[in-house]
Subunit: 263 residues, 2 copies
């Protein structure tokens, strides 16, 4: 428990980055994405799968370049998806030293870590850029509230095969916590769209847990406990941001697809 609280404090510099936004956030997301995908690929080593980290780095830089210069048109993003998939597959031409799994893990890692985390920068650039805070409020709020409510009330196991300590009571507490925290945020900073903040809180409470469990599944299958050891005792980048990978896109698509059409 002490560790959990401390790990929260270590996130403080990130709050500054979120507050600054713009190019600072843009650069931070790129760096965190690349560090994250490296951890993800390292996890595959135990399975004797060797994804191509160089391809992921080029893909990350290319995606952020598209974000900067590609405008809002679909073509450049789609070309990026095509390019990432083709280049990852072409690595298999070194057929004697490559397995299909290497290319499939390269592709999965780029989309799961780099593309997902990229959405944080996209939210920052919408007309509701302030909602970037909801990405972390739903992710970390759910996590912390689920931990405490599970600690106090937890009785029924949620999914013992994936994450043995999680309970249904904790999961519900996490969702409620996310809704309340998002509501408080909306009430103070974005009262005009309070109801949207509450809905994002609800969705975020669910999807951040899915993000958490997805990372648990990966780690379990890879046979590792943590993705990394960046902050001693707190695991790696991906251990901290597994929920953000899911809440970032959720908030973005909520803004552009739901709010964009209502308002």
């Amino acid at each position: 428990m002490k560790t959990r609280v401390l790990s929260g404090l270590i996130m403080l510099p990130l709050l500054v980055i979120l507050y600054l936004g713009g190019y600072v956030l843009f650069a931070a997301c790129l760096v965190i994405g690349i560090m994250g995908v490296r951890e993800f690929y390292n996890g595959f080593r135990a399975m004797d799968v060797r994804p191509n980290f160089a391809v992921a780095c080029v893909a990350a830089v290319a995606l952020y370049a598209v974000g900067l210069f590609g405008g809002d048109s679909a073509e450049w993003y789609m070309a990026w998806f095509f390019g990432v998939t083709v280049v990852s597959l072409l690595c298999l031409f070194n057929i004697e030293h490559r397995k299909l799994e290497d290319a499939m893990a390269t592709i999965t890692g780029i989309f799961y870590v780099i593309f997902f985390s990229f959405h944080v920068t996209l939210v920052d650039r919408t007309e509701y850029g302030l909602m970037i805070w909801l990405i972390v409020i739903t992710a970390f709020g759910t996590d912390i509230m689920a931990y405490f409510s599970g600690y106090l009330l937890g009785k029924h196991k949620l999914c013992p095969h994936i994450s043995p300590k999680k309970t249904i009571e904790g999961s519900i507490g996490g969702i409620l916590g996310s809704v309340v925290l998002s509501g408080v945020f909306g009430y103070i900073f974005m009262p005009d769209v309070l109801v949207h903040c509450l809905i994002i809180g609800l969705l975020g409470g669910v999807i951040s847990q899915l993000g958490d469990l997805t990372a648990s599944v990966f780690k379990r299958k890879m046979g590792i406990k943590d993705y990394g050891n960046l902050i001693p005792g707190h695991g790696g980048i991906l251990d901290r941001f597994d929920s953000v990978l899911f809440t970032g896109p959720m908030v973005y698509y909520y803004i552009v697809l739901v709010m964009g059409h209502i308002s």
Copy 2:
């Protein structure tokens, strides 16, 4: 050789579909994409990998719905990529019966087969819709010309570990054939953009061979000779369209990214 020529004739109905374009082409691409991804997934069975075909079907229908109703905005396509990746990963929650490879193969198959083949419909809707013919001219033209020039002149192996029969002479002949055939097509039907047709012919001559070899790598790693047996003696859908998967996106991105900016 007789088989090759015959397989050409069997493609005739496809020419009618290409000529009609519009919704007929749209529906045909959706069906071919779904049949193709099924063959692709079946190939994984020999490796004891079980991708989720149901997810691929839903993903295919969703992508074509985005193509119909999503307009030209990036958001819906990006949401599709996010959704495909998330849903494929969530299948791993059935952790005792699923391997990481199952989800990674699901993702790879959807992007490689469904997303790539979808570009044929996108070309049809550009202002240079006639260039849809260049997708097949470069794909099948390269294949046929490479076969004949390899047959007549072939001496030096191209990549014996991937495809033992292919020669450097055949490869060069295929590229030249693609340029000549695309040039003839451009001269007759699109003289205004003849030079673009020639460039597409050159790029297509290279990338269609990469598409062919990529399929060969997959089949070799999967331990199968052909993807399917749809047309007896001619393999499956993917055996016939392996090059189109690559030339389709190439022609599309050439039109929207290169020609779109020049003209």
